[in-house]
Symmetry: C2
Subunit: 519 residues, 2 copies
């Protein structure tokens, strides 16, 4: 033990010994973070500007960096330093709270990583890479049987991961935990059951009501004007250009290249207005979270979103609760029309508001509206759980998908391209990821109940194009904490209770009752 502490004598005071261990762990953590951000730079470039033939060496560069990161993550010195920092999971009780939060996260990362043998990690990476390529072909050819053995292989490896990482209740817990730390499958089950029960009748009622015409969104919206308008909105939401960038990529994303360098991307579709603007607002929401961590967290693993669910709550709040609200377009619709004077000359703000809030059960998750979206997620969660429990076999997946789709959404895909093959996630080994998308909507609605109480002038301000109070509120209550608070801690602190579907259901019911004239 003492080898780690070159200064003699200091070990007599346990607080000081723990503090020194924390300092050394932070220094190690800083290198890991610098390497992680470096990988993110390579990844960002790959999706935006990499010349086509540069891809092979880029993969090799990324593999080398991941190896260096992993080496540092599992370095044996971590064990002795963590021991020296205190016997509890979050270290010695005498340590400052931020250090204890740091230790909690650092220990989790270390312990998960050392439980996985190098061979398993490498095999998973290789099989994932292969499975992704096969998935692309299989989707194109609408040929699930071609993809099935690869999915089976990944599933087997993920179950081995789950066994090695360990779990109390359900093997799915260990997978979910990578994306939504500390969340249990049983909690998701409970929350999604309530959500499903209340959401299905709402969707049915909407389907029975007179439909909204959204065809105006498929008129021709020149890309240059979309981009100018998108940047106006981006600025108005408070995303600062001296700490971020907006570029174009095939699939929009947010990525953190440095504490002061968080970039977003979008994509433009000349014949579908929603793609770029709501994509941009969604990524701005992620970006604002990553740009809002407290200065005290700089250079540590606490400067990260605390869970993907909380991350998604930020993107969905800006995209849907703000971006698809009437007050927001009260201010921005005249500006939008000035960018597209001819295209929108016959459309008023209310017609536009209704169009962007059209609800209709559909086959493709990424194109779903905010009401039916959660049902797409529940479908995947239920299938994943069944796969992981081995109560559903991979070969029966397409039929199970169709059945669930009928049951939850009332529609059935005519082929597997629009069904079980539509998402990339499983080919990337991302079982356990989907739930976080719906959890994000639920967190957002729960937080918004409190925000509406705390900020009575919010919607008046938003109606004037001013979103700064909301951003301040989010920074104070969510962003600055990074991962120093767990998702549940944040939720209880803000809403007084653990996550439930209730606030989201209330939000949906109220908003769409108005739009669709339901009782």
């Amino acid at each position: 033990m003492d080898g780690a502490y070159p200064e003699p004598g200091a070990a007599s005071n346990s607080g000081s010994r723990a503090a020194k261990a924390v300092a050394e762990l932070k220094s190690r953590d800083r290198d890991i973070m610098l390497l992680t951000h470096t990988s993110a730079i390579l990844g960002w470039d790959q999706e935006t500007y990499l010349p086509s033939k540069g891809i092979d060496e880029r993969s090799a560069q990324l593999a080398l960096l991941h190896g260096l990161t992993h080496e540092r993550t599992i370095a044996p010195e971590n064990r002795s330093l963590l021991d020296a920092a205190g016997a509890n999971a979050d270290g010695d009780p005498s340590l400052p709270p931020l250090d204890r939060a740091f230790l909690r996260r650092y220990r989790r990362r270390y312990e998960r990583a050392v439980k996985l043998p190098q061979e398993l990690v490498v095999t998973l990476a290789e099989k994932t890479s292969r499975a992704q390529a096969v998935w692309v072909e299989a989707r194109e050819a609408d040929d699930f049987p071609r993809f099935a053995p690869h999915l089976q292989g990944l599933l087997d490896l993920l179950l081995e991961v789950s066994d090695r990482v360990g779990y109390d209740e359900h093997p799915y817990d260990a997978l979910l935990d990578q994306y939504e730390p500390f969340m249990k499958t049983s909690s998701v089950d409970r929350i999604f059951t309530g959500l499903r029960e209340q959401l299905v009748p709402i969707v049915e009622a909407i389907a029975a009501a007179p439909q909204v015409d959204a065809s105006i969104l498929e008129r021709e919206f020149p890309v240059a004007a979309q981009e100018r308008f998108g940047r106006t909105v981006m600025d108005a939401l408070g995303y600062s250009r001296d700490r971020g960038r907006l570029d174009v990529s095939a699939h929009p994303f947010t990525t953190t290249l440095g504490f002061d360098d968080v970039r977003i991307t979008t994509r433009y579709n000349e014949r579908f207005f929603n793609s770029a603007i709501f994509g941009t607002m969604h990524e701005v929401g992620h970006g604002l979270y990553e740009l809002g961590f407290a200065e005290e967290l700089r250079g540590t693993l606490l400067a990260e979103g605390t869970s993907l669910g909380i991350h998604e709550s930020q993107s969905r709040m800006w995209e849907n609760m703000i971006g698809r609200s009437r007050p927001f377009w009260r201010h921005f619709y005249p500006i939008l029309r000035s960018h597209f004077p001819d295209v929108l000359s016959d459309v008023d703000a209310e017609g536009f508001y209704r169009a962007i809030n059209r609800v209709a059960p559909s086959l493709i998750r990424v194109e779903a509206d905010e009401v039916t979206y959660a049902l797409h997620v529940i479908l995947r969660f239920e299938l994943e759980k069944a796969l992981v429990s081995r109560t559903l076999s991979v070969k029966d997946l397409p039929e199970a998908w169709r059945a669930k789709s009928r049951e939850l959404l009332g529609v059935e895909p005519a082929n597997d391209r629009e069904g079980v093959l539509q998402d990339i996630h499983w080919s990337m080994g991302g079982i356990g990821y989907f739930p976080t998308y719906a959890l994000g909507n639920l967190y957002a609605a729960a937080f918004m109940q409190r925000i509406n109480r705390d900020l009575p002038a919010l919607w008046t301000e938003v109606g004037e194009g001013n979103c700064s109070s909301l951003l301040s509120w989010l920074r104070t209550h969510i962003h600055r904490h990074g991962s120093a608070r767990t998702a549940e801690e944040l939720c209880v602190e803000i809403t007084g209770q653990p996550l439930s579907a209730e606030p989201f259901i209330n939000y949906v019911r109220e908003k769409y009752r108005d739009i669709y004239g339901l009782d």
Copy 2:
């Protein structure tokens, strides 16, 4: 020794033992190369797209990567592997020629690096970083005394580097060798003396002749049209967009981010046509070199330019010998006019050709024409040599600069901003770098003599906008070798003799006799 070779029994055959050592060294070299390219990605991004506030962490990311690269470069295993590869500098004679070229380069890099103690490297990096910042302020304030102590500090450290690296003849050798490997100060002296003697009278004769009017180049050239035209030229020169990119940066550069990913930048000046187009052609020349290495060199340190002088020969050949030639504009001038129909309506091809070839002694190196350019370089080389020999002290540098400028160029800067403070190189510790700029022009002219013999149809083809034979020739005789041939080997192979100023002087004399009507 055997510890490095896990397979028992193989060591009995010395060829096999050497071959195994080479394989292991290549695997180590590959990681070094991947790390080097990763640093290049970070550097490219820093100059093109990095949000302003991201700079501090970017420096930390780069410092970490440089540390990792250095660690691998000086790893003690290199020594035993190099020994196992054979007693000669280029390994065992039984090895294939490419492996011997590899060993020669690998050994040089290793031996230079291990001679420099870590502390010296770190101190130099820190002082350089500080000196650069001071240089920016000092240049702005025209305050050489503020910069002087920093330059003195760097000079002292560079002399220590030189002492530790070692040299046969002149302490400047060890500095020059970093940029122009295997070249001696005495050779540069000899070449530059001849160059200077013949160039000065030519410049004087041009100054006495009727002057060329180049004011048309300062008309207004809209950036978007400049960019379109520049990309047309870039494509015509054979720079492939699937292995490269053109972006904008404050100072144009070429950088290699991967074997199949070599990017260039340019800058646009609406009121000076030359900046973007000749900058682009210059960087295309560097880029084509980096994209022309033989497949066999992939992933090794042989996939690098063999010296900065040879590198500059490629950029200058495309920029000046092609880009400022009459045949080139025979094809491209009508295209250029179609991009700027109003601006150039009263200018014919010959008037344009003369404007872009205007010669005039001036104060600023980067704005100099191809005739006077070398004199700017000789000025710096002579001052650097005097500094390194300690026959000139830093405090006397401004006056020495003015004197040399009068002597070589016939003009004298009114202040130090336009004199001794104009270049960034010294503040970066880049003493020994400048000569390579002029060597590049000389190499290019020497190669062109041979090219004119080998490709009798060259100028007819260039006059039709077809530069492909030239590119093929360069690939075959220069590019594919990477650094498997030294600059001198290339020069002797191509021209039959070591480098001399003769071909350049002949080129200049013939071209400018015609433009300026000299006897």
